[in-house]
């Protein structure tokens, strides 16, 4: 039961430049929802100021969209979506330009 996670829009900077991660679903504990995954990811970020760039008020910060298997999570159950084996999750931050 493995989930693949990809970071786009500069979010890899918050995760030690890791662009892709593999996660054993068991690591999330009982709760296998996206909400739980987001919390798990946030815990990986040590610096509180950096954490705020990913995690705010119990979910991803504004400007980040979450994709599951090439679909916007709004088309699924958002935070309540329950992850399945081989799901591909992408966190992408909106780019404004330079």
């Amino acid at each position: 039961m493995v989930v693949k996670i990809e970071l786009l829009g500069g979010l890899d900077m918050l995760f030690k430049k890791q662009k892709e991660l593999s996660l054993e679903l068991a690591e999330l504990g009982e709760d296998k929802t996206l909400k739980s995954l987001i919390h798990f990811m946030a815990e990986k970020i040590e610096s509180p100021t950096q954490k705020e760039l990913f995690y705010l008020d119990g979910t991803v910060r504004p400007g980040i969209i979450v994709l599951v298997n090439d679909q916007d999570w709004e088309l699924l159950d958002k935070e309540e979506y329950v992850l399945e084996d081989k799901d591909q999750v992408v966190f992408v931050s909106t780019l404004h330009g330079m």
Partner: protein, 294 residues
């Protein structure tokens, strides 16, 4: 600011020169004479004539879009030429909108090209956008992106938005049919990210995104005039130079009931946007210090 002519009032024929010039695209049954006339009778506003706006303007003009507006208050700077490839070293200091018009008018003398040597603002944008069928967001900052989207929603105009940073690009068609507006996707402004501000950009990355904006513009012009009848499915394109696969094509949410701009309880009225600058700015992050276009 110029007044838009009535060029796009529904011309039913092409000249012989136009038949020859556009022959290689008209030969395709998906375009044909009805498609070429649809392009000729369409008007497109390009906001920002920088890294995205340069290729977008080139291909839109070359394809025979009848009326093209170029809005940019900035001037040509050779330190931006690594990505703003329609300008040139000898035009240093010239208005980017005027520099682009010079180039584009020789690329296609049939195009009716209007320039607006100013930055997009709550005061000028409602009037300018009202005259166009399709709007392209080729700018580079959050405030202007929210503003353009909100004004497009107010006027019911579709918006083709792209952005690029470092080795990445994004493209989305907003506010068309059942599709979302920018605030449906991003209801709240992003907190200021200080860590990676001096980020840079690679020319062909922003060039690819701008060229793809031109492609989506042609598709949208054909769709709006009923030439292409396939249902519109909201999407976002994500690009990264160094990833495999380089491109992701993602189905996204439709219009959101909860949206402050386009939902049933829309609170972002024209009068609010035009006359409450500081209140409106808090809904779009901070007012940008320099509104330099990408």
């Amino acid at each position: 600011m110029e007044n838009i002519s009535n060029y796009n009032d529904g011309q039913a024929t092409l000249t012989g020169e136009e038949y020859a010039r556009y022959g290689r695209q008209m030969i395709m049954p998906e375009i044909g004479l009805p498609g070429q006339l649809a392009l000729k009778n369409s008007s497109v506003l390009i906001i920002g004539v920088g890294g995205l706006g340069c290729p977008a303007a080139q291909y839109i003009t070359a394809a025979g879009i009848g009326t093209i507006g170029l809005l940019d208050g900035d001037v040509v700077d050779k330190n931006n030429l690594h990505r703003q490839v329609l300008h040139s070293t000898s035009k240093e200091g010239m208005s980017k909108a005027e520099s682009a018009k010079q180039y584009l008018q020789d690329l296609n003398p049939n195009a009716n090209i209007l320039t607006y040597v100013e930055y997009a603002s709550p005061q000028n944008l409602f009037e300018i956008i009202s005259a166009y069928d399709i709007v392209l967001d080729c700018t580079d900052n959050q405030f202007t992106r929210y503003l353009i989207s909100d004004v497009c929603v107010w006027h019911g105009k579709p918006l083709i938005s792209a952005s690029a940073l470092q080795f990445e690009g994004q493209l989305c068609v907003y506010n068309y049919r059942n599709g979302p507006c920018y605030r449906c996707m991003f209801p709240n402004p992003t907190p200021v990210v200080t860590s990676c501000s001096k980020s840079g950009i690679l020319g062909p990355v922003v060039g690819t995104m701008g060229t793809m904006q031109a492609l989506e513009t042609i598709k949208l012009a054909l769709h709006m005039k009923g030439i292409n009848k396939e249902p519109f499915v909201p999407f976002i394109l994500l690009f990264h130079t160094f990833r495999f696969p380089q491109w992701k094509h993602i189905r996204i949410r439709s219009r959101q009931q909860s949206c402050a701009a386009c939902g049933p309880h829309k609170m972002l009225t024209r009068s609010f946007i035009e006359s409450s600058p500081s209140e409106y700015a808090t809904l779009c992050d901070a007012v940008p210090k320099t509104e330099k276009n990408l």
